[in-house]
Assembly symmetry: C2
Homo-oligomer: 332 residues x 2
Amino acid sequence: MQPAESAGGAPLPGFGDVLAAARRLQGITRVTPLLEHERLNDRVGGRLLIKAEPLQHTGSFKFRGAYHALAARRPKTVVAFSSGNHAQGVARAASLLGVSAVIVMPADAPAIKRAATEAWGAEVVLYDRDHEVREEIGARLAAERGATLIRPYDDPFVVAGQGTVGLEIVGQSLAMGIEPDAALFPCGGGGLVSGGALALTHCFPGIAVHSVEPEGFDDTARSLRAGARCSNPPGGESFCDALLAPTPGELTFALNRRLLAGGLAVSDAEVAEAMRAAFETLKIVIEPGGAVALAAALAGRIDCRERVTVVVLSGGNVDPARFAAVLQGRLP
Amino acid sequence: MQPAESAGGAPLPGFGDVLAAARRLQGITRVTPLLEHERLNDRVGGRLLIKAEPLQHTGSFKFRGAYHALAARRPKTVVAFSSGNHAQGVARAASLLGVSAVIVMPADAPAIKRAATEAWGAEVVLYDRDHEVREEIGARLAAERGATLIRPYDDPFVVAGQGTVGLEIVGQSLAMGIEPDAALFPCGGGGLVSGGALALTHCFPGIAVHSVEPEGFDDTARSLRAGARCSNPPGGESFCDALLAPTPGELTFALNRRLLAGGLAVSDAEVAEAMRAAFETLKIVIEPGGAVALAAALAGRIDCRERVTVVVLSGGNVDPARFAAVLQGRLP
């Protein structure tokens, strides 16, 4: 079979690339648990199987794709731009592989994300989210330092690495004797959901995979409906700092338009409620952007009644003050 | 080999009883992950392998022993007294096994624990911790209702069930190629540490197992030094609500005096710091009592340098307002 092509002509990653990523990541990434809780099931009237990627190394799924891309390319120096989770993933992968890392982060990124990135030994370069374009800064730094740029989602190795989340979900749900009906993934640029969908739709041909985004940043949902990449309107606000990418990735959208059943959006209030529910039932810390899929299920943005729905929690890197405010109902 | 006897003459549970519990609990309890984080390792100058029992069903290890004891005895009605985690464990086990449950809880137990106990369908009877004796209320209710009392720790089935935490730690550390040097367990009445020590000392004869208690409630530590059961002095205060048992159990102390290397104590401030560290690195919610072993390691109450120390996080049932206060540094 010929590999499918993206709009730009590059071959798209396929299921075999996700398997290759799994071989490379074995013993490096953590197999995170697939959890279930009666009280959450009761709320939706069905079963939720909850993949807990906050327990991944660096506190988010991003370590999977970052390590895979770095191990495949083996540069001397890597440059990455990221609001924080890809930054940590690249920084830790670089430190494990003996690669120097320069990370371009927005000046308003959560302090916990910046501190963790620096703790892995990376050099952090800050930029102004409103007046500078991170892609340009990343490209300039890469040229200046002779470094390789690892994009946060529009990279076939990154997508394949994130897809290992989906492979684990397949094995874990089969071990429970279950073929899930649907799966919900948090979506920024679309790397996680596209990789996850490669794995899930291959093994479970009938599964309906959905992206979930914050309201005002639902570019992937609108692009799926339009059949072409749309950008977010200016002026949107959300506390889901991990999911503010302005436009679907070229590569990721080429996959997602083929693989996804649709895109959902949730409000910040629904996200905060999902964070509190995970605290009370699962005892897992989720950051706002990591909680959108659970929010979609709990808020009824998709019908989960009498079905099995996989819900991916994608990360847990949230400042203590912000988490406390959510627990106290002061945010959003 | 003859089984060892407790002071009261009853045979003590042994390693074979823990294996029997594992057979009964297979597919019922969750195999919780054994986690490790570079930043925590760096802080202690050694390796910490962290067993995450907040991810157990009902949010604490107590479900293990409760289910095992109920499944072994199969009463029509069960009575239990508990500050909250044993309550939830018994309530959920009873609901799974079709047993009616009456739970005696202190009126000042955390709201999250009482609500969860009721959500599992149990009848909750409150008592005044300062003026009533829960053992007496439990015995009276058991007599009135013809019910079987399941004690929170002084029960051989409960101890054997909690010991399955230790069996999992053995398998998980061996899979990492490691024989740990020491293990730290939170300790109230001593059920978890005695059961865990049965498993760990059998498979790892050189391991040094320690109980960890809140300052002012270190009855097990002092009893181990004295060679006889001592009670806590009156008037102590700690926010570790799960660990306020006044005296070591008779059965559990008979085991612990044989199996433990010693007992440690930590301050509430050290516990709060451990809760914050777990939030930032592991993304796991720990309740105060569940964090004492991690607190002992991070506060240097035991030397973890250049060794491998198992740290058990025993539960995560903490009210949101309290957890928020800890994150904000307003507690203790």
